[in-house]
Each structure stands twice: as structure tokens, then as C-alpha cells.
């Protein structure tokens, strides 16, 4: 008997297992192949726009992904540096051999956590409540809670050309029967599709025909806890190439051989990661498409051909690859493939990721219709936290859309559902100025500490950082400069307006063209504080106006989120709403008025009717 069983050892399952075990519960992680825990079956990178922020949020809440990515990075890059603080994003090329090893190390060392190699066939369910799992072997293992993180394994099918092979990523055995069992329990499933590009033998590539794309020479890291970095000279670069007219003609003349276009693929693929044949069909007038050669690992002689995902047969893949510059004599180490799998509708989940249909059963990761390691990991963490909190009889932990990208992601999933695999994008976050990667710790460390995943020591370190920021901001307010000729000369050199009267350094920092370092140089000071402190001050001061506006907008949301709706609210009692709204509200069962207002097809008039009845309801019960 365990407190919790996690089915699946991918990025969601790893975070979920660690979170539940760290919160003091006896946990069992069941996975098909222990050596494949936390592998990276697609691109060997972590982070990027929005995703990098997810990683930092996971870290601030006590998750593992950021630390492992830091330890195993081959190169780090800060993207969008000039486009504004809200959209800066850290991305690591990860060593795909080391990453799973590091994650496995953490899992095996974790107290309260057991890892077992097996396949789950059915769930043990009594009175709509999960009681454990039944393995393929027939063995029954009981547990209070089950978290299902089966990724792309349920009824997985790999599609190459006209062949369809029942197998999971990297030739792993799929999970059979579980999704059928879920349907018996009343949990609907649907088919989704994703794909991966070919891997190429490194020594068969002529890199001289490619454009070098190095990482940044900065001491960047995801985790606020660890400080592991790789110096630039040791970093592994990426390379950029483009498809040619010849590549396009090969693809076009063989289009019918692609699984995507032969009618073999039934699942809906992600708009965000189309295959190369998709790109050619949808953007017929584009003369070329860009491709990145990304390092996979220092231990294997393979590179990843980003942008070249395909489901063409092997012989056509050979032709296609050889048409690319520098790859004329390339040896394909692993062919590209498309994969189809069963996912559940995330609208069947509460915002805690618990099923609305079966109690104590949680779903996280790609099985919920998302795409990407980071998206999966953060759901695993949240499902793990909420499963533990429920077992402890505590309030659930739900992040609002103005608090974290994680909040945006889960709210989108459970409120709007998905049609094709969901990727996190900065465009999805209406409060992205508040949800920066640089302030993820400020937003979430305290919550992580309260939950019990952030140690007292790390929390103290965080509080020290806050007081340093506060003290330095206060100091800048009191230190002033006078409009002397020297000062004005320096300002002019920095393309900034002259001073007419005395001004505080804080007010000077409000000018977008001036940096913290520049401002203190006016009083002949050099930076002594860590960059993460001064950067925080710089952003908060320079963009104060915008940040305040965003906070004000967020306050409206917060008020709407405070009006709660009982989970069992009967929408047939609302006489005043449109049919579409009634159907959708009954299905989604929003827990707050804010969530209700985000359901498509529910208009403000419906919401007002809902509020009226909630008020009536609460005044009746309080009498």
C-alpha cells in the first residue's frame, strides 16, 4: 500500500514523484523502462520563450527540472534580450545522455520513493474513487492516489511512410489497454499526433557549409539554487542551414508517400511543430526553410536536425537529408517519425489536475494534450503538490494567470481544452510583464516554502535577496546628482536628456536608455551587488508605469477569481442564460467566476446572471 502511485517516468512523472515523496508520502513510480526515465525523445533543449520561464517557475516551487538542466547543459543562450524584460528567455541545449542520468540520480536518492519497472493495465476503482493499479502481470498495488503521466505511450503508433508500427518513442513498448480502460470509466480519449526529425552522425557532416550559431558567454543558469555553468569555450555550438529548391522538389514529388498525406495519420498534429512536408504544403511560396543542427550529447556522435520533422519513408528521408548543404554525405543515425497516441480531454480535470470523473486520480503531462518537456514537468509538479495537499487535508494549490505561466497553462487546459498539442507561448499570457523569468523566484518562492518544497535555508537566501533589492532601491532614492556640466556631458554621451535640476538616481533610472551601471557611474561607483539584484531594480524602476498598469489590470482578475462557484453548482437553476453557456458551464464546472468568464461561448450577460444566483445562494445559506 502506497500513498501515491505515479504511472510513467517522463518529465511529468519525475516531477510528480519527487514532489509527492518530498512532501512526506510513500510514493511508487511505475515506468516501462527504468533506463528511459526522463529521456528527451525529441529536441535536446530546455527553455526558450515562455518555456524558460516555466522552468524557472518549477524551480522556484521546488521542482527539479531547472537544476538538472543547469548540470547537463551544452550551451546556454539568452533569447530576446533587446525586445524587453518580459520576454527575455533562457534556453539550454541539454546533453541528452546526461539529463536523464541526473534526473534518475535524484529519483533514486529520494526518500519515500520507490521505482518499479512495469506496465499498468487497469486502475483499481471503487465508488468513483481510485484505490490503486493493476499491472499487466495481474499484480495489484493499492494506493490512496494515482497520478497518470503516460505521455505519448497510450496506444502509441509510430508512422513512417506507409508503415504503422505499434511502438512508443525510441522504439519503446507502448501502453496497451489503459486508455480503453479509462473510456470504460467514463474518461474520453482522443488521438493526437506529434513527430521528430532525423538524427545525423556528426562525423558525416561538412560543417564548413553551415553558419555557426554559438551560445552566450554569460553565467546563466535556470535554478535560483544551484550555480552551475559551462564557460563558452566549452560550450557546444549549433549550426544554421536552409532547405534548397532541390529539397523541396524531392518532398513535393513524394508527398503521397508521407504518412501525414497518405491518410494514415488520424490524430491532430501540433500547429506549433509542423513537419517539413506540412510547411511546404501550407507555405507553398516560401523558397527555403531554416534548419538548426543541434548537439545532442558529448557522449554520442549524433546531432538533431531541428526543423526537419517528417513522416516520409526511409529512402525518401535519405534523399531529403542529402539535398541539404553540408549533409550531402550525411549518415542518418535515426530516422524521423510521426507518432500517434491517445490523450484525455483536460476539460475533464479540475484546476488541481484531479479528474472530475474519478476521485484521487490525477493526470499530468503530454497525456493532457500538451507538447514539450517543460509543459509536462510543470503539470507533474502541480499534480504532485495537489495530490499531497489533498492527502494532508489542505487547501488545493492553484496558481492564477497573473501569478505564473503555470497558472496560464493549467487554466487554459482545464477551461478551454485542446484540439492540437498545446505549446506554451508568451502570447498566451495576458500578464506577461508580471510573469518574467527574472522574477519567478519573487513570485513563487514563498509559496514553494509554504508548501514544503523549498528549504528554510533556501527561503532565507531568498529573503536576503529581497532585502538587498529593497535597501538598494531606497538608497538610489536618496542619492542625488546635480546638473553639473560633467554630469550633463555624461548623459549626453548616453543619448539622454540634460538635467535642469537635482535628481535622484532612482528617478534617473526611470529613463529607459539608462542602466543601473550607468546611473551609479555618475557618482563614481562600480557595481558591487550581484547582477540578479541590480537587474531586478533596473526592470522594476524603468518599467514601473507599465508594471503598475498590469498590476491594476490583474486586480480585476483577482476580484473575479475570489468569487467562488461550488463544484456541484446546478446550472439548470439559472433561467437566464443561453443554452450554449449552460452546456459549457455544466461541463467545465468552473470553480471561480473568473474561470467561468474565460469559457468560450459564455458571455458577460451569462456571467452576470451567474453572479446574481451565487449571491442569492450565499445569502440563503448564511441565513
Amino acid at each position: 500500500m502506497y500513498d501515491a502511485i505515479i504511472i510513467g517516468g517522463g518529465h511529468a512523472g519525475s516531477e510528480a514523484s519527487l514532489a509527492v515523496a518530498r512532501l512526506g508520502h510513500e510514493t511508487l513510480l511505475i515506468t516501462g523502462n527504468i533506463n528511459m526515465i526522463a529521456t528527451m525523445p525529441c529536441n535536446p533543449s530546455i527553455g526558450g520563450p515562455a518555456k524558460g520561464t516555466l522552468v524557472r517557475e518549477i524551480d522556484a516551487l521546488g521542482g527539479e527540472m531547472g537544476k538538472v538542466a543547469d548540470k547537463t547543459s551544452l550551451q546556454m543562450k539568452m533569447l530576446n534580450h533587446s525586445k524587453g524584460p518580459a520576454v527575455r528567455a533562457l534556453r539550454a541545449q541539454s546533453d541528452k545522455v546526461l539529463y536523464p542520468k541526473e534526473m534518475q540520480k535524484s529519483l533514486f536518492a529520494q526518500e519515500n520513493l520507490t521505482v518499479k519497472e512495469a506496465y499498468v493495465k487497469r486502475l483499481l476503482v471503487e465508488n468513483n474513487t481510485v484505490k490503486g493499479v493493476i499491472l499487466e502481470s495481474g499484480e495489484i498495488i493499492e494506493a490512496n492516489t494515482v497520478i497518470l503521466t503516460a505521455g505519448t505511450y497510450m496506444e502509441a503508433c509510430v508512422l513512417v511512410g506507409s508503415t504503422s508500427t505499434p511502438e512508443g518513442p525510441d522504439k519503446q513498448k507502448p501502453s496497451y489497454g489503459l486508455s480503453e480502460h479509462l473510456r470504460e470509466l467514463g474518461i474520453e480519449t482522443f488521438r493526437l499526433k506529434t513527430g521528430t526529425p532525423p538524427r545525423i552522425k556528426r562525423d558525416s557532416i561538412d560543417f564548413s557549409k553551415m553558419e555557426l550559431s554559438p551560445g552566450d558567454n554569460f553565467k546563466y543558469h535556470f535554478s535560483y539554487d544551484d550555480s552551475v555553468f559551462v564557460p563558452l569555450e566549452k560550450e557546444w555550438p549549433c549550426y544554421l542551414i536552409h532547405t534548397s529548391e532541390f529539397t523541396h522538389s524531392i518532398i513535393k514529388s513524394n508527398l503521397r508517400k508521407s504518412a501525414m498525406y497518405s491518410g494514415l495519420v488520424k490524430g491532430l498534429g501540433p500547429r506549433y511543430c509542423p513537419s517539413i512536408e506540412d510547411k511546404l504544403v501550407r507555405f507553398a511560396d516560401k523558397e527555403r526553410h531554416q534548419l538548426f543542427i543541434e548537439p545532442e550529447s558529448q557522449f554520442i556522435d549524433e546531432v538533431y536536425l531541428q526543423g526537419f520533422s517528417t513522416s516520409m519513408p526511409h529512402d525518401i528521408q535519405e534523399e531529403m537529408v542529402h539535398s541539404l548543404p553540408g549533409l550531402e554525405n550525411a549518415v542518418i543515425a535515426k530516422y524521423a517519425y510521426a507518432i500517434e497516441y491517445d490523450a484525455i480531454h483536460p476539460t475533464d480535470l479540475w484546476p488541481t489536475l484531479e479528474s472530475k470523473i474519478i476521485n484521487n486520480l490525477y493526470f499530468a503531462g503530454q497525456v493532457n494534450g500538451t507538447s514539450g518537456y517543460e509543459e509536462a514537468a510543470c503539470q507533474g509538479l502541480m499534480a504532485g503538490i495537489n495530490a499531497a495537499l489533498k492527502m494532508q487535508g489542505k487547501e488545493p494549490f492553484i496558481l492564477r494567470r497573473d501569478e505564473a505561466y503555470i497558472g496560464v497553462l493549467i487554466d487554459d487546459l482545464v477551461t478551454k481544452g485542446v484540439l492540437d498539442p498545446y505549446r506554451m507561448l508568451t502570447s498566451r499570457a495576458e500578464f506577461r510583464l508580471l510573469l518574467r523569468h527574472d522574477n519567478a523566484d519573487i513570485r513563487l518562492t514563498e509559496k514553494g516554502h509554504r508548501i514544503g518544497l523549498i528549504s528554510d535555508e533556501r527561503y532565507q537566501k531568498f529573503l536576503d535577496k529581497l532585502s538587498l533589492i529593497k535597501a538598494e532601491t531606497a538608497r538610489l532614492k536618496t542619492v542625488t546628482v546635480n546638473p553639473t556640466a560633467v554630469i550633463n556631458q555624461q548623459l549626453k554621451a548616453a543619448n539622454s536628456g540634460e538635467l535642469k535640476e537635482k535628481i535622484s538616481l532612482l528617478d534617473l533610472l526611470k529613463r529607459p536608455e539608462l542602466s543601473y551601471d550607468f546611473v551609479i557611474s555618475l557618482i563614481d561607483e562600480k557595481r558591487t551587488l550581484p547582477l540578479e539584484i541590480t537587474e531586478q531594480i533596473e526592470i522594476e524602476v524603468t518599467y514601473e508605469g507599465y508594471i503598475k498598469k498590469a498590476i491594476k489590470e490583474a486586480e480585476k482578475l483577482i476580484k473575479e477569481e475570489r468569487i467562488q462557484i461550488p463544484a456541484d453548482f446546478d446550472y439548470s437553476k439559472l433561467h437566464n442564460i443561453a443554452l450554449e453557456a449552460r452546456v459549457k458551464l455544466s461541463k467545465i464546472k468552473p470553480l471561480t467566476v473568473g474561470q467561468a468568464s474565460r469559457i468560450s461561448g459564455v458571455n458577460p450577460a451569462d456571467i452576470t446572471s451567474l453572479i446574481l444566483h451565487l449571491k442569492e445562494h450565499s445569502s440563503n445559506t448564511s441565513k
Binding site: 515562455a50 550559431s213 500547429r271 478551454k416 480585476k556 474565460r598
Partner: protein
């Protein structure tokens, strides 16, 4: 759609538009007093106790909008239980519209139909029965409002708003693709140098739409009017009668007068801008005195012709010439001197019979002006009028957001900041057409750009 209707500061007109001698503009929300105070010159409203009235002027950008009385109601003792300010202005479209525009510029939002009442209920000021009956009414009207929304904006204008939305969406998508796919090399890197002219173009287009919306034009610009008639039909006395009307206020609004416009006249809340009144004031005979060319020029500039005839006489050749000359113009034939008889012989024309001397028939003239220039559906029905005014308000909100984006771009804030206001503008437009939301943006992103792994 995000339900932001509940808690921000809203502004709406509480009186029926256009007809009354006074208008009351109501502002409700936590910032109501503070926002009005920023326009108000008189006592410091922040310091005034609840339930007091203050006299002063509303001034926007250094220009006096109107002389007003401002009533302050502090929360919770107000109609909505929030801070409420009621501003009594003089009547007419123009003043109310300017006040609302100035408040929107400061951050108010145009109230939805019935929104003050909703707030009153939600804040516990009125009971459920009252609120439900109001809700039923508002809900029942949602469909009609949608229809009227489409009528209120004529087809051409609606098309323009759709164009505008897609211009803005494409600009936003171009910025977003840079942000979400920073290494994608087939998209132009959007800099403020590119954003500034594109934003300006959209602002220009919005201004065009505001002008093209007929009602909007009447409200904002007034009607360019020329009064013609042969000598001795009584043009001057008609004008003087109009000017002496109690409701008629001659206003001078700096920056709006064009060289040909010599006077402004408020006729029942609608501003008539008189073209070339010099001719009318000094002589009765505009045709002979300044020549037919000048008259034609005046006519070509005008939105409305008031053709004055003498009711007591048969048509002369000069009358006939003027009737012919103005036949393709929007015109009102005014039969003056109705007190002296009714001999004028004109076929197939509606004559508004007035007596400048006895001051009768002026109301008929007012009604005719309204019939011609203000959508009849919008008059006399407060709900539908609000619906249309809401759209104008939204368009102005969008314009203001674009101007904010422009000024941020001009002081070279990062594009991410600039985009915040562009996106707000897009959402404001979306509240007119009902098309907005992240999904549309994301679909646009992936249909315009070839992105992927």
C-alpha cells in the same frame, strides 16, 4: 471575453441625448472622484464631502469644455455604492461627448448598457427582484443590441473596422513571432522604427472612421450649413430667431473653425456650423451680391442647405433657380412668413413651415435636422443610443491605446512594452466586432509564419 464590466471606473450618459437642455454624465468606480478632479477647475473635489455640489469648469488640454455642476457621492452612499460623480453639463451632443472622451483618455471605460444598475445590485444597493427585472431587460436586449450595433455602424464603416482589426492583428503577430520564435529568420525584426509609421497609419484610419460614422460626425463636427434664399424671404430674421432661442448657444471652439465657417449654432443639441454667414448678415441677397460662383462654392462645402422661401408669395424665378441649384444637396425647404399666408406653389417637396416673426415652427425645423442627420433608431431610445455610443467609445479607447503605444515607441521603450498598448487597442476593437482573444492571435501567428521544430 473577460468580464471586466464589474469593477473598473465607468462613464456613461445618464440623460437622453440630444434633446434636453442639460445632460448628466455619471462616473462610477473607485477612481471616479479622482479622475473627474483631474479635469475640473474649481474646488478640489478630492477634499469635498459626500453629497455636495461644486461649481466649476471642465478643462481638457487647456481648453474649456463646459461650465458644469459636479455632484460627489462617496462610497457606499451612492447609487452604485461606489464612488460616484454626476456632472451636469449644458445640453447637446458635443459637450457630453467631449466630456466622455476626456474621461476615457484618463482611463475610464464606457459603461455597458445597464451597467450602473448591475453594479448597484452587485454592491448590494438594490435587491434581487429589482436587479433581475433589469437583467431580464438587458438580456432580452442583447440580440437587438447586436443588430443595432450592426445598423449603427453602416456597412462601409464596419468593413473599415474589420480592416483595422486585421491591420492591427498583423502588426501584433509580426511582433509576437519575433518574441516567441526569436531565431526564426524569415520574419522582419520589428523595431520601433517600423512600428511607429504602422501605428500612425492605423490611428489615421480610426480618425477616418470616426468621421465617416454619420452620427459620430454630427456629434463631433457639427453640420456645415448654408442658409440661402432670395432677398426679403427672411433669412436674417430666421437666423436671429434661431440665435435668440433659449436653447441656442453660440459657441466658439478653438481649432475647429475653418475659414469659411463664421458662426456656430446649437439647434436642439445639434451643432450647425454656418458657412459664409457674412453674406447672410450683411445682405439678404446672397446670389446677387457675391455671385453665383461664390454661392456654389459655399453650397459645395455644405452638409445641409436651409433654403428659405416666402410662404406668402408664389415662387419667383430666383426661388426656382435656387431650388434647382440645391436639388442634389441635403436640404430643408423652410417656408418662412407662415403667419402671412400659404401661397407658395411647390410640388413634391416637404416644406417646414415657420414664422420667424412669431417664433413658430422652430421645433419642426429641429426635428427635420435630426431626421436627416441622426439615425432615427438612435433617437428617443436610450438603450440603443448607448449601444452605438459604446462603439464610438470603444473606438476612442482603441485610438487612445494606439497613441500610448506610439509615445512609448517614440521614447524607444522595448517593443514588448509598446506591444502591450497595441494589444489593448486590438481588444477594444474586438469588443465592437466581437472578435478577439488569444486563440485568434495564435492562429494568425501560425497561419502567417512557418514555425516549428
Amino acid at each position: 471575453m473577460v468580464m471586466k464590466m464589474i469593477f473598473d471606473t465607468i462613464v456613461g450618459i445618464a440623460t437622453l441625448r440630444g434633446i434636453s437642455a442639460l445632460n448628466v454624465i455619471r462616473v462610477s468606480g473607485s477612481d471616479a472622484i479622482q479622475l473627474v478632479n483631474r479635469l475640473f477647475v474649481g474646488k478640489d473635489l478630492d477634499q469635498q464631502p459626500s453629497h455636495t455640489v461644486s461649481y466649476g469648469h471642465l478643462i481638457d488640454d487647456g481648453v474649456i469644455i463646459d461650465e458644469v455642476l459636479v455632484s460627489i457621492f462617496r462610497e457606499p452612499k451612492s447609487f452604485t455604492a461606489e464612488n460616484v460623480v454626476e456632472i451636469s453639463t449644458h445640453g447637446g451632443y458635443l459637450i457630453a461627448e467631449k466630456v466622455i472622451e476626456a474621461l476615457i483618455k484618463l482611463g475610464c471605460r464606457m459603461a455597458e448598457p445597464g451597467e450602473f444598475t448591475k453594479r448597484a445590485y452587485l454592491n448590494g444597493r438594490i435587491d434581487l427582484t429589482q436587479a433581475e427585472s433589469i437583467m431580464d431587460m438587458v438580456n432580452a436586449k442583447t440580440m437587438t443590441q447586436l443588430q443595432i450595433a450592426n445598423q449603427g455602424l453602416n456597412g462601409q464603416v464596419k468593413e473599415l473596422i474589420n480592416d483595422l482589426q486585421s491591420d492591427l492583428l498583423s502588426l501584433i503577430a509580426k511582433i509576437e513571432v519575433n518574441i516567441d520564435y526569436p531565431e526564426y529568420d524569415d520574419a522582419v525584426v520589428m523595431t520601433n522604427e517600423i512600428i511607429i509609421p504602422e501605428t500612425k497609419t492605423i490611428i489615421d484610419k480610426i480618425n477616418q472612421i470616426l468621421i465617416k460614422s454619420d452620427t459620430g460626425k454630427v456629434i463631433r463636427e457639427g453640420i456645415k450649413t448654408v442658409i440661402v434664399g432670395r432677398p426679403n424671404v427672411g433669412k436674417s430674421s430666421l437666423l436671429n430667431t434661431l440665435l435668440r432661442e433659449d436653447k441656442a448657444i453660440v459657441t466658439e471652439i478653438s481649432g475647429t473653425t475653418r475659414d469659411l465657417i463664421e458662426g456656430e449654432l446649437n439647434l436642439g443639441g445639434i451643432l450647425l456650423k454656418l458657412i459664409d454667414t457674412a453674406g447672410i448678415r450683411t445682405t439678404d441677397d446672397i446670389v446677387e451680391k457675391i455671385g453665383i460662383d461664390r454661392a456654389k462654392k459655399a453650397l459645395s462645402e455644405s452638409d445641409l442647405v436651409l433654403l428659405v422661401l416666402d410662404q406668402s408669395q408664389k415662387l419667383t424665378d430666383a426661388d426656382k433657380e435656387l431650388i434647382e441649384l440645391t436639388s442634389d444637396k441635403t436640404r430643408i425647404i423652410v417656408g418662412n412668413k407662415t403667419d402671412l399666408g400659404s401661397l407658395v406653389d411647390i410640388q413634391n417637396e416637404n416644406i417646414i413651415k415657420v414664422s420667424a416673426k412669431n417664433k413658430t415652427g422652430i421645433d419642426l425645423l429641429e426635428n427635420e435636422v435630426k431626421r436627416l442627420f441622426v439615425d432615427e433608431v438612435l433617437i428617443g431610445n436610450n438603450e440603443t443610443m448607448l449601444s452605438n455610443a459604446r462603439h464610438i467609445g470603444k473606438l476612442k479607447e482603441a485610438n487612445q491605446n494606439l497613441k500610448d503605444a506610439l509615445s512609448s515607441a517614440q521614447i524607444n521603450y522595448p517593443v514588448d512594452m509598446v506591444e502591450i498598448d497595441l494589444r489593448k487597442a486590438w481588444e477594444s476593437l474586438g469588443e465592437i466586432t466581437g472578435e478577439s482573444g488569444t486563440e485568434i492571435l495564435i492562429s494568425t501567428l501560425f497561419s502567417k509564419f512557418c514555425l516549428g521544430k
